[in-house]
Amino acid sequence: MDKRDPYRHNVLTSGHRACSGCGEAMAARMVTDLIGANAIYVNATGCLQVFTTHNQQSSWQAPWIHSVFANAAAVASGVEAALRARGDDTPVIVQAGDGGTFDIGLQCLSGMIERGHDILFVCYDNEAYMNTGVQRSSSTPHAVRTTTSPPGRLSEGKHHLKKDVLSIIAAHHMPYAATATVAFFHDLKAKVEKAMTIKGPRFLQILSPCPLGWDHDASLSVSVSRLAVETGLFPLVELENGEVTSVMRLKQQRPVQDYLKLQGRFKHLFNSTSTAETATGNANGAAEIRHLQALADARIRRYELLQAETEWDTVRASQVQRHGRGGYRNTGQEAAS
């Protein structure tokens, strides 16, 4: 057991094989430490499963199970039903990447929600199949370079738009669904803690930057995820029973270029070689940047990110305090045996 840190359990402990600066490892460590070791974690196939369970070694200091790619939500449904039959209220958590949520795991997730299982489903959204070498997923945003959506003379990266999975989830009229990201820890913490007080199916989508697939410096994972929120490309929202109940207000909207420029997966937009539409060089890249800006503007308008009356905004939520603002309550808690 890892008992190095008196202030944190480290449910996801050190020695895992995630890349340097991995946003998903950061997000999973935050979420699992907020929930604690006294829970059963069901993992879909994906980066998180691969880098934490390697060659007879596990990084998990809590009960953890992996079956196959598609069925994490179904496995968790079974675990939850069995616990319920025994009168055991141990929380059940599903962890999946965007592949295991948006694409391959979507129908099991939908079934889990429809049957009303008391499960928290956490999606670590890094916007592509990173583990297998950065292939596009339905979560990959428009105009992104992946190995299966390469930019070139006739293409500016992924042609299709990012799937709005939150609206699909919301259409189930489930008790709680929210988005979060690693840059705003205290927002993430509030959402995890709120989710853990609610019974029934709950869903959390956490934007998790991937230095490898997004092609940014390993030290910029937090900065990039903060910019995703500040530009409006990734709104932080909460939905209860299908209705938007709270958003993170943007103190100031940043232009999408600030976000795009840090990432190699958008580099081709600033150095466009496409001749598909016009012969004036950068026209296509510039057009895609305008398109991404319009998508951000549409999301800001849809969730009223600039007007909403909320206690928090992107500036206040970032601010730190001397001696911290608190962290994890599950200090020193032992894993369920």
Partner: protein
């Protein structure tokens, strides 16, 4: 786990630290407030204690370098606040307000200075001058176990702090209490003892193992080529000394002050309090009109000038005096003219006046505050025959002549004296820490808090202290505005953001578990105060 075929191990067995090409290191930096403090106070450190309401710890940290916080919190021109990085975000931390609160609290609670060592030294040290430099030096030596005797030719200790600073800026009772707290360390004080005339320097050298000379710059500079030796003319320092020692002075209706320094403004405000109409003839330009040319603007501090103007003192800028106009013995006024340039052809400070711009300024009394010089009478040997065990400090050692510079000079004098007594090189605690600028800070992480200002009383005619102090709540709020540049304030960012659980939080801060740190650099990137360095791994 008996049912399992394979007993699972933990990934803790696999040390990901060897993937690393650079590693984070926690390193304290030296913030600009400390860099610019003439007394080299570790301002960030005592503000940190104050932000935790550890008032006594804050006072003890502050008094490591400056034993006069209640005095300096009132009169220092706080160059620390000019350097403060918070200026780039909203406005500088009100450092002097917090300093004054700590000094006043120490006096109120009766906190006593503590010696650094228990071992009593036998080598005797004499200090000439009980001003800020002498007191500071005596304090540092006494805390280190040396028996110290201070000689002063006045009947009250404090030097220029006593004779040069009016009651409305520094109440005499505050000064006396802080001096007493210093003397309580066992320092002998011999007042009315004029070294050089009554006590010879040779006698002092026989009786003491080392001497620190801090006689200040007490002698007024005299303007040449003027009939200023007779009636109705006085030097600024002498005028202020008379006021501060309670002598009664009768002034005519109109008074002119010549000079633009703090002594000139102090003299003007004192004359105003005696009921006179006061005009200050200042050779320089007003504040803020010559950016980038500090010598071209009035040297008196902006706050003092603004307060003087609010009290009705009139300032005439870029003007110099040509002659005193007398009818018989009686002074009827001054002939003033516009200043062409401040320095003569030899490069000395001697305002050159434009021909044909003369005007008459009626005045029955003229006060010259054009600078002070060191009076070496009886102590010429100090200059002529330098010795290892004789050190000169404070205003007597040169410029700039600010109280805080004198306090810093006293500390250095003590270190040099100890070095000469022990035969070791002097220890200044030179800061080896890297300096930090605003570029290394992550300003969006800090909450916006508006600077707190002291209130200024409107009742200036009563000759009571004008600027009011902070209460505890305001002081705490102000101390917490400190950005803690380059020093950890335990915000938890590195701990929250480490993807590898390689930052371990403990009761005093954080440490990095290099067995697992992959060197991604997120902790350094997201550290608000620039405390974390990424260093290249060479092996």
């Amino acid at each position: 786990m008996n049912g399992l075929v394979i007993e699972p191990g933990s990934t803790l067995a696999y040390h990901t630290g060897d993937w690393r090409t650079q590693r984070p290191v926690y390193r304290d930096k030296w913030p600009p407030c400390g860099q610019t403090c003439p007394a080299s106070e570790d301002i960030q450190a005592w503000l940190a204690y104050a932000s935790d309401q550890k008032w006594e710890d804050a006072w003890r940290k502050l008094t490591e370098r400056n034993p006069l916080p209640a005095v300096m919190g009132r009169i220092c021109y706080h160059p620390c606040e000019l350097g403060c990085n918070r200026k780039q975000m909203d406005s500088a931390v009100n450092i002097h307000g917090v300093e004054r609160y700590l000094g006043d609290m120490a006096l109120q609670k009766g906190w006593r200075h503590k010696p650094i060592t228990d071992t009593q030294k036998t080598q005797q040290v004499a200090i000439i001058g009980a001003g800020p430099a002498g007191l500071s030096c005596a304090y540092q030596l006494a805390r280190r176990g040396y028996p110290v005797t201070i000689f002063d030719n006045q009947d009250v200790a404090g030097g220029t702090l006593y004779s040069g600073i009016p009651e409305y800026r520094l109440p005499k009772s505050i000064l006396a209490q802080e001096i007493n707290a210093i003397l309580e360390l066992g320092i002998q004080l011999r007042l009315n003892s004029n070294v050089g005339t009554e006590i010879s320097m040779d006698a002092l050298r026989n009786d003491y193992d080392a001497i620190f000379v801090a006689i200040g710059a007490q002698q007024a500079r005299v303007m040449t080529g003027l009939d200023n030796s007779s009636h109705s003319v006085m030097a600024g320092v002498d005028f202020l000394r008379a006021i501060n020692t309670g002598k009664s002075i009768q002034l005519p209706n109109k008074v002119a002050i010549i000079g633009g320094g703090n002594t000139a403004i102090d003299a003007a405000r004192c004359a105003r309090r005696l009921g006179a109409e006061v005009t200050v003839i200042c050779p320089q330009e007003p504040h803020g009109t010559q950016p980038g040319h500090p010598g071209a603007e009035i040297p008196a501090s902006l706050e003092e000038v603004l307060q003087a103007e609010a009290e009705g003192v009139r300032l005439v800028y870029r003007a110099g005096i040509k002659r005193l106009v007398r009818s018989g013995e009686h002074l009827s006024g001054l002939e003033i003219a516009r200043v062409d340039r401040l320095h003569n052809l030899q490069g000395d400070f001697k305002p050159v006046l434009f021909e044909g711009t003369e005007e008459f300024l009626p005045a029955g009394f003229a006060i010259f505050a054009i600078g002070q010089e060191v009076n070496w009478k009886g102590l010429e040997a100090v200059i002529e025959k330098p010795a290892n065990n004789i050190t000169v400090g404070g205003d007597a050692a040169g410029k700039p002549r600010f109280a805080a510079t004198a306090v810093g000079s006293g500390f250095q004098g003590a270190m040099i004296t100890i070095a000469s007594l022990t035969g070791t090189p002097p220890v200044y605690e030179q800061h080896e820490k890297a300096e930090i600028t605003v570029k290394q800070l992550h300003l969006p992480y800090y909450p916006a808090v508006i600077r707190n200002e002291s209130a200024i009383l409107e009742r200036w005619k009563d000759n009571v202290e004008l600027v009011t102090g902070f209460n505890e709540e305001v002081t705490l709020n102000e101390a917490q505005r400190c950005l803690s540049c380059g020093v950890c304030f335990q915000c938890d960012n590195c701990w929250h953001f480490c993807p590898d659980a390689a930052v371990i939080k403990n009761d005093t801060g954080y440490e990095i578990d290099y067995d697992y740190c992959k060197g991604c650099g997120i902790c350094a990137q997201e550290c608000p105060s620039g405390h974390i360095n990424m260093e290249i791994v060479t092996t």
